[in-house]
């Protein structure tokens, strides 16, 4: 055997040739993404034309021709006999900014709103950052302490408990409350006895619950020396945030409850849940708000009145709860049956199975849906202006009646400002949900 020396086979590597200029770098990118074919080039040109049509006028309006300072409408009016197109009148937004944020909340008391915003922010920011410790304390603060403090600060507290339910005076209210506590503890004791279990933990949990409610009621009824601010004068961003946040906080547990109810094996509970969910989902929010503002007073006994804002809150919360229930139900259905069976095999009861095994997985799966519902709810808060509450959009809309600032560009400027505020809130919510989704996407990663 001999090795033949094939002269036509290369023995050394050829030098690397740089890729063609049309495939790499800026040029390559341009070629690949913009001008790969005739049709693609045409699309690019059309796209650039659309951008050219839309963007320069908006920038011109919002920045170049905009008026940033001024005392009244004169500043934002084009000089007479000239063809100058005036831009956005930001001076008007600046002048109206306090109204857009607080509504007609009294000037002297606005520090309370600011304090509530601040308290909310210091609770929210660490809660959103996964690395910050003390999550449990944080949640207790956000769901327990903050709502009470915020409520007292915003309304002024000093509630008259004597008007509550049946009592005639504050003293009699507390006596009745004590009697109710004793009765409830007795019932708990009886149930525990009938179940042949130790009655102590049950009675203690009832007493603890009643004590917490009593503490909240007491705090609300104490006069801290804050001036009472009726909800009629609330407005602007304050109302938007109050409705959105209360709606979000109330709709999540309600929605989970109805989702569990709809998946329950008990026929009546299932039926009631289905009717509730389908009813609220089938009607527009406006009719719900009309219902809560016009019909709810009819349902209440004579003499009992509800605050207008509170009525809107109830409507919004129930409406959002129905949507939330469907989102959560989707998550519950996505959990494999093995998880339920595994939990049951471990001897867990219904609530422990749901609370410890199923819901944590299900809620994780539907985070995008939950946040979408939150975003929808946030946008829907604007609808309260139809029943006469002044949220941010309502304040902007009502500011147009003021002749001091009435110019042709006023409405454009106002809507631009409101749109920007809403957009920032909604967009950051959706970005945060994408971030959380990625972070929690642990189990199903491939």
């Amino acid at each position: 055997m001999s090795t033949t020396d094939y002269a036509y086979v290369r023995t050394e590597m050829a030098d690397e040739v740089p890729p063609p200029a049309s495939e790499v770098g800026v040029l390559g990118w341009l070629h690949k993404n913009l001008f790969s074919s005739w049709s693609n080039t045409l699309l690019t040109l059309i796209g650039i034309y659309i951008v050219w049509l839309l963007v320069p006028p908006v920038i011109e309006f919002a920045f170049v021709n905009a008026v940033w300072t001024g005392e009244n409408r004169e500043a934002c009016l084009a000089p007479p006999d000239s063809n100058v197109h005036m831009g956005a009148c930001w001076a008007y937004v600046k002048a109206y900014l306090p109204q857009f944020i607080y509504g007609r909340y009294p000037d002297a008391e606005r520090w309370r709103v600011n304090l509530v915003f601040f308290l909310f922010a210091i609770g929210l920011v660490p809660m959103l950052m996964p690395r910050v410790p003390f999550k449990r304390a944080n949640i207790i603060y956000m769901l327990g302490a903050f709502p009470v403090v915020g409520f007292i600060l915003l309304t002024g507290g000093d509630f008259d408990l004597s008007g509550f339910v049946f009592s005639e005076s504050t003293a009699s209210f507390w006596i009745e409350y004590l009697i109710l506590t004793v009765v409830l503890a007795g019932v708990a004791f009886g149930i525990a006895k009938a179940g042949a279990t130790d009655p102590k933990p049950m009675v203690i949990s009832v007493l603890a619950g009643m004590a917490v409610i009593a503490a909240v009621l007491f705090l609300v009824s104490v006069d801290f020396g804050l001036a009472v601010v009726e909800t009629e004068v609330w407005g602007g961003l304050l109302v938007t945030l109050v409705i959105a946040i209360t709606g979000i906080v109330a709709s999540l547990p309600l929605g989970i409850a109805f989702a569990l109810g709809r998946r329950s094996k008990l026929p009546i509970i299932r039926l009631v849940s289905i009717i509730f969910i389908e009813f609220w989902r089938g009607v527009p929010l406006i009719t719900v708000l009309f219902m809560s503002s016009v019909m709810l007073p009819l349902f209440l006994p004579e003499g009992v009145t509800f605050d207008k804002l509170l009525r809107a809150l109830i409507g919004v919360a129930l409406f959002a709860a129905a949507y939330m229930a469907e989102v959560v139900r989707g998550g519950l259905q996505a959990i494999p049956k093995g998880q339920y069976e595994g939990a049951q095999a471990l001897g867990l009861g219904y609530w422990k199975m749901m609370g410890l095994i199923v819901l944590p997985q299900a809620l994780k799966l539907v985070i995008p849906g939950i946040v979408n519902t939150f975003i929808g709810l946030f946008k829907d808060t604007t609808l309260v202006l139809i029943i006469g509450l002044f949220d941010l959009l309502g304040q902007v809309q009502s500011s147009y009646t003021d002749p001091t600032w009435s110019t042709p560009t006023q409405s454009h400027t106002g809507y631009m400002f409101a749109a920007l505020v809403f957009w920032v809130f909604c967009f950051s919510m959706s970005r945060y949900s994408i971030y959380m989704e990625k972070r929690l996407h642990t189990g199903h990663r491939r």
Binding site: N33, I50, V283, P297, F299, I375, D380
Partner: protein
């Protein structure tokens, strides 16, 4: 040796309470009792409140003369008409804006959803920016913007903007010429019906022929030719018995032609632009859900890009798209109730006026709820049927 487990004596007494079946019945009975109590409270309170306010309940008020005008109505309506007829007008207006809105939103949404997936960087960026801006701004704000900032800001009738084809735009609305069908134009109508029937027949025939022989037939162009051609022939034969009613400025406003109110335009624009941004995301998700292997397999079979999209990708994507698309259609219909904010006379807006005049809150809100609920149920029933037809048939 097997160990016999003996239960302690007390648990025999407790077992009744811990039996899940009995506990279930107990809690359900509790729920029923609570609901009955709640309902009873509501009914008695309402009856008492109504008596105190001297409001007679019942639907008798529907026959009373309304006494208010409605700016846009599909059926004959005047101030002498009854409240009931006013509600019907409102309902038809709701249907009109929802129907046209759904068509526009679907077209726009599909275009933008596909643009979002385009290879072309500029186009996909534009679609992305559109979606992210529009869907994060409240719909009511957009309606206000279109109504107060755009359509109310156009010139008054004297300085109308004139578009080609005698279309006038001013702050009272958009005015366009209206074709007037005189006697004899019935033939063209019959020709149109014949053309449509023929197209259906040809489509079936072409399908059968392709199944058996593999030969294709240009169905689309034949259809266009028939639907345009036959009525045209009909018109030529009868000597063009169609006149045109042009809008003309008389006094302070335009008379004649078709008038589209700014309220309708604003609501329609806002609804379809807003909903399109959601539909675009649904379309994108649907197309992405079809695995890339399907495209590759189609290309391997020698199918070109266009037919691949039309025959392979879209039919599969539709399965994913239809359920969320249905709920967007429902949302659009329900959102059309925001009309009340700019006084477009839809069901809620007209109902609100009647509510203010008569105080029949329960009846009006009841009518709203029933109408919207049945619209919702009807749409979802239809879509479920369609969804079942389109669903993947597995073993």
């Amino acid at each position: 040796m097997a160990v016999q487990h003996t239960a302690p004596a007390e648990s025999a007494r407790a077992s009744l309470f811990y039996d899940p079946k009995i506990r279930g019945i107990f809690f359900q009975l509790l729920l029923i009792a609570a609901l009955i109590f709640f309902g009873y409270q509501i009914v008695t309170n309402t009856v008492a409140n109504l008596e105190r306010q001297n409001i007679a309940s019942g639907f008798a008020f529907l026959d009373t003369t309304a006494g208010f005008g409605i700016i846009q109505s599909l059926i004959e309506y005047s101030e002498e008409s009854s409240y009931g007829r006013g509600l019907v007008v409102g309902f038809l207006n709701t249907l009109l804006v929802a129907f046209i809105g759904i068509i526009l939103a679907t077209v726009l949404g599909f275009v933008i959803g596909i643009a979002r997936l385009s290879q072309n960087w500029v186009i996909s960026r534009i679609a992305y920016v559109y979606i992210e801006i529009i869907r994060n701004i409240p719909l009511l704000l957009q309606i206000f913007f279109w109504y107060f900032a755009v359509l109310r800001a156009v010139p008054n009738p004297r300085d109308s903007i004139e578009l080609p084809g005698s279309i006038f735009v001013n702050n009272r609305g958009v005015f366009a010429p209206r074709p007037v069908f005189e006697s004899g134009s019935g033939l063209a109508g019959i020709a149109l019906l014949v053309a449509i029937a023929a197209v259906f027949f040809i489509k079936n025939w072409a399908h059968r022929r392709q199944e058996t022989t593999g030969q294709q037939f240009p169905v689309f162009w034949t259809a266009v030719g028939l639907i345009v051609g036959l009525p045209l022939i009909g018109l030529i034969v009868t000597g063009f018995p169609v006149g045109v009613d042009y809008p003309a400025l008389k006094g302070f406003n335009f008379v004649g032609g078709v008038k589209v109110t700014p309220e309708f335009m604003a609501l329609l624009l806002a609804l379809s632009i807003y909903t399109a941004s959601f539909i675009a995301e649904i379309v994108r998700a649907g197309i992405l859900a079809v695995s890339h292997g399907q495209t590759e397999a189609a290309h391997a079979l020698g199918i070109r890009n266009g037919p691949t999209l039309r025959l392979v990708i879209i039919p599969q994507a539709m399965r994913v798209i239809i359920p969320p698309l249905t709920s967007q259609y429902l949302n659009l219909t329900k959102n059309s109730s925001l009309a009340v904010a700019i006084a477009y006379p839809d069901l809620v807006s007209v109902g609100g006026t009647i509510l203010n005049q008569t105080g029949q809150a329960i009846e009006i809100i009841g009518i709203w709820m029933v109408v919207y609920l049945s619209l919702s149920l009807l749409t979802s029933a239809f879509m479920n049927w369609y969804n079942q037809r389109m669903a993947l048939v597995e073993r």
